[in-house]
Symmetry: D2
Subunit: 385 residues, 4 copies
């Protein structure tokens, strides 16, 4: 990539994070009601910390860190890089203030921009691109985490009128048949990709059919009305326990008000639209729905083999594949290596992308992954048979 293009991409990405926070009040930057989500302040800081820790400290001559505490406070997983604040206590940190965090961003941006004008080492370029992709991942989390936090408020705050991540209709229908054969899976080519997509390899697939469309709210309401949440026979044992322990009877954010199903959205509480694409469901619900239909979820390999002939990108689609290493997968040395491989157990793969995924971040070989119980991402269902 030409250096000026990279600089522009850097600036655009960094601006987009700020733009996402434009509608926020200072108060909105702080709370962390659940340990799996983080406050906006933390996302803004942590993505900045990545550029400081992984790039400026190494490449910027005589770099003076912005503040000694920030490294400690805004590290996330990276155990290699020293102690870090406890994940579950991100919501208790009132200082540094939001204003200071923005100063931190500006300080790091100024140094990165200076650095990119002077240095075009391929290793630097690679890390910048990694940092950009890392920030894009946090942009998606920032907005989905924020929605989750705001959803706790009984007064249903509006993030921004006209900004609604969930109001999409299907535009296609029917089934796509894919013939038996050997398929190549995994990233190929030159662009950016994560380590977990590497190791392009062959898989044998038997013939299958995959739906061109995603499941809609109307489809799922049928399942609900047919007693889907009350009948153990559609559920995995672990899913059935999850339903009962958490008294689940609808997708996340849904509430029944005077006989009508509504849902909390970033525009406030809205009526469920039957023809919109279903979202905010767990793997357990996706699997139970498929079983109830007499169908199944595709594997991630089937999905990738079919992807070029499918319309995808509005929802993260649960697959019936566990998140496991590809053949020859190796964890990279050092902190960067803690990125993906550490999580390769007890999680399910999601393929596609969502309306919260930043433009240019999606990729057909992209492997997203979450524990099967999680619902706060923009998840959806594509069926196979």
């Amino acid at each position: 990539m030409i250096m000026s293009e990279l600089l522009q991409l850097y600036k655009n990405t960094r601006s987009h994070s700020v733009a996402l926070c434009e509608p926020l009040e200072i108060e909105d930057y702080i709370p962390q009601p659940v340990d799996f989500a983080s406050p906006p302040k933390w996302h803004l800081s942590h993505s900045t910390w990545f550029f400081e820790e992984m790039i400026l400290k190494k490449f910027f001559k005589n770099y003076k860190i912005f503040h000694p505490h920030f490294s400690f406070l805004f590290n996330s997983y990276y155990q290699t890089v020293g102690e870090r604040a406890i994940r579950t206590e991100r919501g208790t940190m009132t200082r540094p203030t939001v204003a200071e965090v923005y100063k931190y961003r500006q300080y790091v941006d100024a140094h990165i921009e200076k650095l990119l004008q002077e240095n075009n080492a391929p290793e630097l370029q690679e890390l910048i691109i990694l940092g950009i992709n890392h920030e894009q991942q946090h942009q998606e989390l920032l907005i989905t985490d924020l929605k989750h936090t705001l959803s706790y408020n009984p007064i249903h705050p509006v993030y921004k009128e006209g900004f609604n991540l969930t109001a999409q209709k299907n535009e296609v229908e029917g089934w796509l048949k894919i013939p038996e054969g050997i398929y190549e899976i995994g990233f190929e080519g030159e662009g950016f990709h994560f380590d977990n997509e590497e190791g392009r390899h062959k898989v044998f697939l038997h013939e299958f059919e995959i739906s061109k469309s995603l499941v809609t709210n109307a489809d799922f309401l049928e399942f609900m009305e047919a007693g889907g949440y009350e009948n153990f026979k559609y559920w995995l044992d672990e899913g059935w326990n999850w339903v009962n322990e958490n008294q689940i009877n609808s997708p996340l954010y849904w509430e029944e008000i005077e006989g009508k199903w509504c849902s909390y959205t970033l525009e406030g509480l809205k009526l469920i639209e039957p023809d919109h694409i279903l979202t905010h469901i767990s793997f357990y619900e996706a699997q139970a729905f498929a079983t109830w239909k007499g169908l199944r979820l595709p594997t991630e390999f089937e999905w990738e083999a079919a992807a070029d002939q499918l319309k995808w990108g509005k929802r993260w689609e649960w697959t019936y594949s566990a998140y496991l290493p590809y053949p020859k997968f190796k964890i990279a040395e050092g902190a960067v290596g803690e990125y993906n491989g550490k999580f390769m157990v007890s999680q399910m793969v999601l393929r596609g992308a969502s309306t919260a995924t930043p433009k240019g971040h999606e990729r057909k070989t992209y492997r997203n992954f979450f524990q099967p119980k999680y619902r706060w991402q923009l998840t959806g269902i594509r069926l196979a048979k």
Copy 2:
């Protein structure tokens, strides 16, 4: 009380809450890291809600409530007054904003002031005084809760230079002997008091001696150095479990840094001063310390009988009395009655007052109470024998 005096007292009290928050950043108003403490925003709102709910709705003709959601959000215990937001989720509420909360305060203040100029019904006057005392209680909680929240931050934020609740020395020494006899316990006279102090009654006390001074940090360090936290024989069984489950080895907020005991204070991290009065200890620690000394804690009746001859008011002093009803105690009808009587089990009485107690709020018959494990209030130890 003359109405203009009452109005002035109201204004002073309300201003004091605002003054306590003057050093805060917006961010500081939000988090609630533990369920037993509440954020400043909630204290400011809830004490205001009390005046709106208990007084304006009833006495102010055609009163228009400030906002329908606030009643729901800022109710605390009062089950009589309808649904309320879940206590453990106070820290997740980003809206209403802090600015809106201040508007709410001004709106209610304006109406109360107008009301007090027009109406001097004794019942109104009584409720205003209750509301003032309620707000004073929340002022003490506001500052101690805030300290607790800030203490989670590894960068030890400073609330305000020169404002330090814990830097007091003893000014007295020796023992006071109180003779055997019948003593009158409980509130007497005309001023304000809570329902739990009522029912003045006789108790028989055997002769006892009570210390004129409170235990210092140096005293407690001796206990620590003598292995006090490691020897079960000084501890109540429940206290010993508490020590071990929570790995307690010092008072709250203390940390040992390079061999020196320091403590988080509202002025940041400070060295422990040996001659300062000990604070932030649980009942279990108070009791274990007394046992180690071969002494004991006074009962609340002994304390009250001796109070006029003691210097008190810098620490809440744990007594070895459980918080139980006085003879003839009756819970008042309605929401006001939910105030005190509901908590009369599994808590211990503290007598005295602390440096966080608003001026004029302290009283020798005042019965403060907490579960024996709690330490975030400005608690201390006075010994008896």
Copy 3:
């Protein structure tokens, strides 16, 4: 006491433990479904261990302990006497077998009997009497713990036909008025008593009335039918949480079968008899019932002052007194001292005795104590006003 009488008392007490277990199958000696109750095997062993550890090791010349593991396995609280097996894992110990435990009892009995024929030191005599009282306490726990364990079995096992701890009627009625005055509280005289009863002292009591009868099932059914379990206003805050978290809607062991209230008893499932005395209720329920009646529970001092004029001994009666030290209470040195004083926080006093209390073990100054939530003892309600 004459030595031969003491020996006879020892033998009778020891035989009674064995007699209580006569209807049991081997299987019944093992499980411990909850941590607050212990299996019969443990009670039989632990009460024997007490005689071995506290008496034989000290007084019996060249005493050879029965088995080195038993000291470790059957110690309960006594931290002074070395490590002990974890309380919550008593139900996992299949070895030593029940047969071995009976051999252990016989071995210790033979040695104690020999010792008592040779040695009449007052200190020995005192410890024997303590051991007898200790075993009597465990007899009561053995049968109430056993009932609790059997109650988990959906097939409602019968312990023994004709043996029913709960089928008692009231035989008295009306109120007893006790005049204001100074009363002496605590043990007086020469017989056996626990350290927590010592320190006879004066208390001043205001005039009160205390019920001659105990609350019946019919009385409590009225409370239930009046919605007592659904109305927070009768409950202490802690009690209300307890009701809701545990979904309590009746006394322990009750179940509604086809519209009729039944209760698990040691004779199997039985219909609730309205005129029988209520039992298996928590302090919270006792207090809520009294509040609903517009009455209150007596204090332990009121109870003791009235005891000589009351019929008592079928139920442990919850008082509204916390379990706290009497004036001048001192914990005895060593293991014996761990008996009572260690528990003097967060528990409520029960007075009286129950149908499970061994004959001769009851005493009007006896202070029983449990946490307010517990219901598996034969607890009941006596009202005061």
Copy 4:
């Protein structure tokens, strides 16, 4: 299968369960210290219940069930067949007694034997074989669950001298290379197999090498001495949390006594033999060990493709494959269908067999599965690269 052979197989299988319990005391049949393991009494009853519920009720004319309670008490997972006792309370059931359970077995055996002499319907035959395999599975659990329960006893009970499931040496060494290609996976042929092995299908495998030997105690001690349990970089994130939360520093049942590693076995406490095959490790430990070695675990497909050239059957070998459905897997209708498919999420596949697996129950297509944290089975490690 000829009917007389089937009858003989039935009798042998049923006798083996009884033989496994021969060394037990009555007491050993009862406890269930953890919810993932069940008491011997339950295994004996549940495997019998299977024959009664699935076969006798359907095929034996006018069959009179042994006892109405047993169906309720000894059902395990099968939600289709009505309510069942709570899994975590199996250890609280003292009745029916062990003697009654043996009578139940004899009663059911007599009826099955009679039935098999009269009826040779293929459907019956198939269910009998399923019941036999089901009982064999419970035989393996019975002995591993029992070991787990006995391990809680600080006196290290001996189950039976000379019976030691863990004292095996490796008899092979070196690596086996398997070429790239398409392999057929899943059960083929006519014999018994579980539904999860069905759907023989093709998978493409890249070239790999797999170890002929299993990891030994000496190998693992090297890992331990190299600080393997203290270095996060070898561990999956979930595994690292598991290590820290549970303070794991060795395989299950190991304890260090005076500087020497010992292990609880069914023969009591024994010194660790370096050249014995490692066992009782979690998937997390297996994966961390492989990472430390710079190697990896095989997938279940690699394992099956290599199985005919490997010596296997002493340990259940953790694979790096999640337990997921094979293509075209369908859950069978009714209770039998609840067997396997319900668990296809969040578990890892183990291949091979163990020294506790009944003879004839092992199969190269057999898919065993457990959550990655479990260690009480006879698990081991085979490496791949």
